[in-house]
Symmetry: C2
Subunit: 491 residues, 2 copies
């Protein structure tokens, strides 16, 4: 059976199509093996630590152009995860870790105020089309399990959730939350195929007073809900107290932990404070506890951080959380631009990716103002593809700059169609060019409307190339030659 030979027919946006299930056979075999051995720990980390290279690891190695053994070793060490629930056969596996390309996550999901299944599926499609590496379904309103089922059954990328939202939706008030209800919710979600859970197990009751110094208090929904639960019951966080029970359940399905930063700063003034780092230390302890059961872990990070404090965020996370992959929201580097927070945060995201964050959670232009629509999702994704790619270039990842070099070459040789094709959003690039020079003729012209033919610098520059060749015998390096040289330098 080919990797894409198994699938089911679904109906979306008025069209029937088959969603491939590349993992279906791998999972069947894995379950058979478990029946034989009685070892039902299904996590990639468990296999890696036994020295095995799973099909998911091979798949990832091929995509990332890395050795399968390297992937295995990184997973075994906890520096990389492959979020891949055994009940998510539609998944095309991907890896999150400092050793692989920088990834981006897109949040979708409805709220009680707005959105429905069709709209969420459209957002999923847009997110995956423009390059989201994972998607979180943060639905808090309507039929949450039904929306999630639709998303999972259509998604080739890992799906994450915050199970506390569904738990809260099932009770009248925060005080009614309990570990039993929570375990019920996560078991159901794990059975459906959710690949990672954000779990705010590090928000401890003793950290709550620390937020009184802040301007924006607790801005994580999970963190605020748990703080409310703890302070009204005068009890410790039930996720912290029952962490091992949760871990055992996650191991069975290979759901990865995304340890939530419930006390992340909600404005630049609150960044890197006592509350944030106290929680981060606890997350590091929980990481080691999860690793005892070979459960995969990544660590969530903030939020809002001024540029001069961004590197410190990564350094602290690596130190306190033993190298577990860092999964960061933004961060926004200023608070003054609601409506443009995809930009304020792409600045921070690019920088933190460069310094070692493994995955960047996008922020859309609608942040702080309302639920993102499909256009917001697209704008958020593009900003974050830019950030993650810029981070890969700055980290000198092998081959990261190849696409830049190819597009630059197309630009210099006035190959407009190629320039558009190589860009993150070809339609937008083309339509902007069309705005002033719509005729096909101009798609081969040696200028554009910015400078016009008499002032086009690249046009003049190509004449200078002739001089260099005729007078100095210096041939203009063509792209093939340059890329070859670079490959050689990389060794």
């Amino acid at each position: 059976m080919s990797a894409h030979g198994n699938g089911h027919t679904v109906h979306a946006n008025g069209n029937d199509y088959i969603v491939p299930k590349p993992r279906a056979e791998w999972i069947v075999n894995r379950k058979k093996e478990a029946e034989r051995t009685g070892d039902w720990n299904m996590s990639q980390m468990h296999f890696a630590r036994k020295g095995l290279v799973t099909e998911e690891m091979s798949f990832v190695a091929h995509k990332e152009k890395l050795a399968p053994e390297f992937i295995r070793d990184e997973i075994a060490a906890g520096r990389m995860i492959i979020p891949a629930n055994i009940n998510h056969p539609e998944l095309e596996p991907m890896a999150i870790g400092v050793g692989s390309l920088c990834k981006i996550n897109a949040n979708i999901g409805n709220s009680a105020i707005t959105s429905n299944v069709d709209e969420e599926l459209r957002k999923l499609h847009t997110a995956v089309h423009y390059g989201a590496d994972t998607v979180m379904d943060l639905s808090t309103g309507g039929d949450i399990p039904m929306i999630r089922e639709a998303i999972l059954r259509h998604s080739p990328v890992p799906i994450g959730t915050v199970p506390l939202y569904e738990a809260l939706s099932r009770v009248k008030k925060v005080e009614d939350l309990s570990i039993d209800l929570y375990l019920e919710v996560i078991e159901e979600q794990a059975q459906q195929g959710v690949d990672y859970f954000t779990i705010h197990a590090g928000v401890l009751i003793q950290y709550v007073p620390m937020v009184s110094k802040r301007i924006t208090g607790i801005v994580s929904r999970g963190g605020a809900i748990l703080a409310q639960w703890m302070t009204s019951h005068h009890k410790q966080n039930f996720l912290y107290e029952n962490f091992d029970r949760i871990t055992k359940l996650l191991a069975k399905y290979d759901v990865s932990y995304s340890l939530g930063d419930g006390l992340r700063p909600g404005c630049v003034a609150d960044a890197s404070d006592e509350a944030q780092f106290a929680e981060l230390k606890t997350l590091g302890e929980l990481t080691q506890q999860a690793w005892k059961d070979d459960v995969q872990v990544m660590i969530e990070g903030p939020g809002h951080v001024p540029m001069d404090k961004i590197k410190e965020q990564v350094d602290k996370e690596v130190e306190l959380c033993h190298g577990a992959p860092f999964y960061v929201l933004g961060p926004l580097v200023t608070d003054i631009a609601p409506g443009y927070d995809h930009i304020t945060s792409a600045i921070g995201a690019a920088m933190i990716g460069w310094h070692g964050a493994a995955m960047l959670c996008y922020v859309t232009p609608k942040e702080h103002l309302g639920l993102p629509n499909e256009k917001d999702v697209k704008d958020g994704i593009i900003a974050y593809k830019i950030a993650a790619h810029a981070a890969d270039i700055a980290r000198h990842r092998p081959g990261a700059r190849d696409r830049d070099d190819a597009i630059s070459h197309a630009r210099y040789t006035f190959d407009w169609d190629k320039q558009f094709a190589l860009s993150l959003d070809p339609d937008t690039a083309r339509s902007m060019h069309d705005e002033t020079l719509p005729d096909d003729y101009y798609k081969e012209a040696a200028f554009c409307s910015m400078c016009g033919p008499k002032f086009c610098s690249m046009n003049w520059s190509s004449k200078v190339d002739k001089y260099n060749e005729e007078v100095h015998g210096l041939k203009k390096n063509d792209l093939t030659q340059i890329v070859t040289e670079q490959m050689a330098l990389r060794g």
Copy 2:
């Protein structure tokens, strides 16, 4: 006479209004003084070096909340400039230098392909409205002097130009350019009131062969035109050869040099190469030559630079150019996103501003694709206001974070109207909120459509504040208290 008491009536966009001339009287007095002494060097640097604090310096000191003597000393040392042509009375003086707030420039101007006077005035208005600190008129088509006159007579911000464009527009081919024509053009532009000239005097003939290793050759229009002139005549750059003649002319009108980076990299692959730094060294020598005549200088920088090489750009500039203010285009940190280069470049701009660039030249979404329209100008400005502000925060400039803290406080207290009012683009912020919750009622609601009332974290957080106060006696710091503490820390 009040600073705004003198002006002329102009007609724009169908409305008559008075453009104030805050500098009119200062300039009259200064000319009278020159007639008495015979010293016609009108540059701010000349006065600063004589120990004088001009009205422009006082004005800037007041705006920047800095001591007038500090402004004077920075200008005398060449680390700061006030671009302020004595024939631009409409100007509200501003300063460019590492000791003052980070500034942004917006490029407007037509090309042979598109745009007219009215459209350029609308772009000017949009640029100034959204916060451009200076504007460059890069017109290359139509009646260039007429467009420039209209822009100057309406502009409260310094206007820069690249005089080579007008020079080229007056001849048939590049080879016909000459120093005599060039001097004629800059004298006319200086008389009109242009505040700074981009002059590519550092592109030397011996540097031309260095670009043969590049993917995108020479991407500066001025640089490419001069390279073409030099290589066809086999002669040295006539701007370099006649630099002192140009300097003398600039001193008379107090036009500042913006020494152009004709060999700036046009893609990330070409960043920080031999050609770029060879030219930068020459610009440093020319800086000292200009300073001999007390002419103000800033240095232009690239362009396209990967994140890991951004700090080096500033360090080299400061070293080679003796601390003259660095005026940087972008830089773009990746080449793969035409249509979104306001974002790819805002990342680099924020970082280079943090590391010490004094002014950031915006890049619009239309970069590489066509001439920006009014919407592109706005999008470029907003992205660069974000970058410059983030840089000021990261540099810990006194008071830089006050607006962030105020908006964060408004956010936490659900004062939506105040949040919109404090934002860079209030209309956009409000309309995004209106999209899902248009009723006035919701402008006081303790939630928005993102999380909805049951999941609004800030809503829960305010309940936690009560717990902290009642159980621990910890009062939530209100903004006044926090800002006061911060002011105290600053000393």
